[in-house]
């Protein structure tokens, strides 16, 4: 139900689907006015804004425009009022929340304070105890100092006595014992040395020297956990494992081969043997077949590159070295040797093609990985000379 007309003239009761509207004679106070519905009757209790008799309940003789205007006004005013009310509600809600929050904060503060106080009490108690102890320590220190000085005089006196005795007796043993007792405390002031003598018990002699040789825990890779480039190393291991597993599915041609000839490892070994005996073409064939079976093994390419070098197939050598290098990523200590070889072989190929600059690049890369290799160094030097030579000429 909606009761309208703040300050204005209309009274509206809407209970859908019914609507009662009356433009009243004079303004009413709508906050206090009520309309009760029940038993088929609507009971209005309207409070007049201004006391006085009305000529009639509704405004008669009002023109349509006036009525319209009044109605609209009334509606508008009603809206505004509603808005204001919601605003007011919001504000009160906020305030309630704030109040609740403050109350909680106060409680927590109180709790915190209580704990702080407990701690403070502890602190003070403990500080007092500590101060007592400190004073005690100071006292003890002072006592010690006094004692020391007293002893000092005593001991100096005693020693003088002993010396006198010694001189009289010329007994060597006592001199020696005096000396050995002096050894333990070297380089310190004379007085404390003497106090040591008289007080210390017999200490065992210094231990006879010994050495214990130790080994450190080895790892798959020689780096500690904190230094390890674990991710890269894992990648490399993974690749290697994969490489061993891949076998290309070109079965038709391979049916003719014997079992062992299908094994890339066996083929690699064969190739190596043939390389060693100088049969480079055969070695290349072996490697080719191995690569067809498993094209992820860097060593196959590496070795084939060496063969091509010997056969003066320089472009192929370069190709194979490059492929090998590609497969030898990520660069980890484990594949250092292989990478050095790849760079060197490619470098050689470049030089034989008279592409000295590229060759030098590869040699320097190899040197970076293995700076201690003298042959690589020498070769790099030679290339540099050649480059300088050609530059001077041209």
């Amino acid at each position: 139900m909606h009761l309208g007309s703040p300050q204005l003239h209309s009274g509206v009761v809407s209970v859908p689907p019914f609507l009662f509207e009356a433009i009243l004679y004079a303004p009413i106070d709508d906050t206090n006015s009520t309309a009760k519905i029940g038993n088929g009757i609507v009971f209005f209790t309207l409070y007049k804004k201004e006391v006085g008799m009305w000529d009639s309940l509704t405004l008669e003789n009002a023109s349509k425009e006036t009525l319209q205007y009044l109605r609209e006004n009334a509606v508008r005013k009603a809206h505004e009022k509603a808005k204001e009310e919601t605003e007011a509600k919001k504000v009160t809600k906020q305030e309630h929340k704030k109040y609740a929050l403050e109350a909680t904060m106060k409680l927590e503060e109180a709790e915190r304070k209580r704990i702080e106080e407990l701690k403070e009490q502890e602190r003070q108690k403990v500080t007092k105890e500590l101060e007592l102890w400190e004073d005690q320590q100071k006292y003890v220190e002072n006592q010690k100092k006094v004692q020391k000085e007293g002893q000092l005089h005593e001991e100096v006196g005693q020693l003088k006595e002993k010396k006198k005795e010694k001189n009289n007796k010329t007994s060597i043993p006592s001199e020696e014992t005096l000396k050995t007792r002096l050894k333990p405390t070297k380089g310190s002031g004379s007085y404390s040395m003497f106090s040591e003598n008289l007080k210390e018990e017999q200490l065992p002699a210094p231990r006879s020297s010994g050495t214990i040789k130790i080994n450190f825990t080895s790892r798959v890779f020689p780096t500690a956990l904190r230094e390890s480039r674990v991710a890269e190393e894992e990648e490399w291991l993974h690749k290697q494992a994969e490489a061993r597993r891949i076998i290309s599915a070109d079965l038709s041609e391979l049916e003719d081969l014997k079992e062992e000839e299908k094994n890339p490892d066996w083929l690699k070994d064969k190739g190596n043997k043939m390389f060693a005996t100088g049969n480079y073409l055969a070695a290349v064939n072996a490697y080719n077949l191995a690569v067809r079976l498993n094209n992820k093994r860097p060593l196959l390419y590496l070795n084939r590159a060496a063969c091509h070098l010997k056969l003066r197939n320089l472009h192929k050598a370069i190709e194979d070295s490059s492929k090998a290098l590609e497969l030898l990523t990520p660069p980890v200590p484990d594949n250092e040797n292989a990478r050095v070889k790849a760079y060197v072989r490619r470098g050689t190929a470049f030089c034989q093609l008279e592409l000295y600059a590229e060759g030098l690049q590869d040699y320097e890369a190899a040197l970076k990985i293995d700076p201690k290799n003298k042959t690589i160094e020498k070769d790099a030097e030679k290339i540099r000379h050649i480059i300088q030579g050609t530059m001077q000429n041209s």
């Binding site: 006879s208 214990i212 956990l225």
Partner: protein, 360 residues
């Protein structure tokens, strides 16, 4: 923030805090006194030794000594109670023993290592432990050497890598098992996670293991008893407590491990007055106080009838965060229960009091 629950738990009370003008590497209590030493490196690359006295809620500087090389670590462990000589290891690999009353010339000096001495420990002094006073140093050059201040220039024991073996930094050393005149062991922790136990009586390697992460600190719960427990802390927030009473022929010593601090655990120190309580300091500036509980049976027989140890459990008593920088050094006072000093990389030394340790 200190855990507030349970007013019966030990509380860590920050007593005094002192800002320093140099990098602090080690702090130690002077035995039988209310004095403490701070060792470190000044900005101009020289070593600093400062002697403070705890007086009425403040640290008063009694003495400041400057040395040529920055000092990394120090110990009173091998000194007698009267003399209280300080043994230090510096960045240049030299071991020096100083008389603090006359610090210009060291009482004993040797350039024992080729690289920085990371850690030092002493035994046989201070009325603790039997046998000759000895100092052990562990260095970045991978060697661990034991020195007797009565023998010049050469160590009495040298634990070095085999020829050709690549070396690993030794980060920490500790003496233990010094309960008779002859018995003694040295435990060393390395940066690759190796922990090695050397028996000095038989001059041999008694046990080794690897805890995967670099070992920052090892300590026996007591140096002067039959070895009981060993705590080893490491990078990545882990520490292990080994029960050293029972050594299995293949499995070695039983251990329990805990994760804490969420960062490197720099130091572990046992309470001198109660060997089952220890404190660990972390890379995030926090201190954790732990208690070890023994199992019902410390050893049991395995399937072949060999004795093997049973590790107990560790419970956290208290934790507190004091700084944002790592707390790199920690020392309990041997004279006052609960008093400890810690030094952090924020160039501050703090004196703390841990309360209610009697009730633990």
């Amino acid at each position: 923030m200190a855990a507030a629950a349970g007013p019966e738990r030990p509380q860590v009370v920050a007593h005094v805090q002192q800002a320093l003008s140099y990098t602090l590497f080690d702090c130690k209590w002077v035995p039988r006194s209310a004095r403490l030493l701070c060792l470190g490196s000044a900005a101009r690359g020289t070593g600093v030794v400062q002697l403070y006295e705890l007086r009425a809620g403040r640290l008063e500087l009694l003495r400041e000594i400057e040395k040529a090389k920055p000092i990394k670590c120090g110990t009173f462990g091998a000194a007698s109670l009267q003399q209280r000589y300080l043994a230090t290891g510096d960045f240049g690999g030299s071991l020096n023993v100083w008389n603090l009353e006359a610090p210009e010339i060291p009482v004993y000096s040797v350039k024992g290592h080729k690289e920085i001495i990371n850690s030092i420990d002493g035994v046989g002094g201070l009325g603790i432990g039997e046998g000759a006073p000895e100092i052990v140093t562990g260095s970045r050059d991978g060697t661990v050497k034991v020195w007797d201040p009565r023998q010049k220039d050469t160590p009495v024991a040298n634990m070095e890598p085999v020829q050709g073996e690549s070396k690993r930094d030794c980060w920490t050393v500790a003496f233990g098992n010094a309960y008779t005149q002859e018995e003694r062991v040295v435990c060393a922790g390395y940066d690759n996670g190796d922990i090695k136990l050397f028996d000095l009586k038989t001059m041999s390697l008694r046990w080794e293991t690897n805890i995967k992460n670099g070992v920052c600190s090892v300590e026996f719960d007591r140096k002067d008893v039959n070895m009981n427990k060993l705590v080893a802390t490491s990078l990545e927030g882990k520490f292990h407590v080994f029960d050293m009473r029972t050594q299995h022929p293949t499995k070695g010593f039983a251990s329990v491990s805990e994760k804490a601090h969420k960062s490197t655990i720099w130091q572990v120190r046992h309470l001198p007055q109660n060997r089952d309580i220890f404190m660990t300091s972390g890379g995030a500036g926090s201190l954790h106080l732990w208690k070890y509980e023994y199992p019902a049976q410390r050893s049991k027989k395995d399937s072949e009838g060999a004795e093997m140890g049973v590790a107990g459990s560790v419970s956290l008593l208290q934790n507190v965060t004091l700084s944002t920088q790592p707390i790199s050094s920690l020392d309990w006072s041997p004279d006052k229960k609960g008093l400890c000093v810690c030094g952090a990389f924020d160039q501050t030394v703090r004196v703390l009091i841990v309360t209610k340790l009697n009730k633990v």
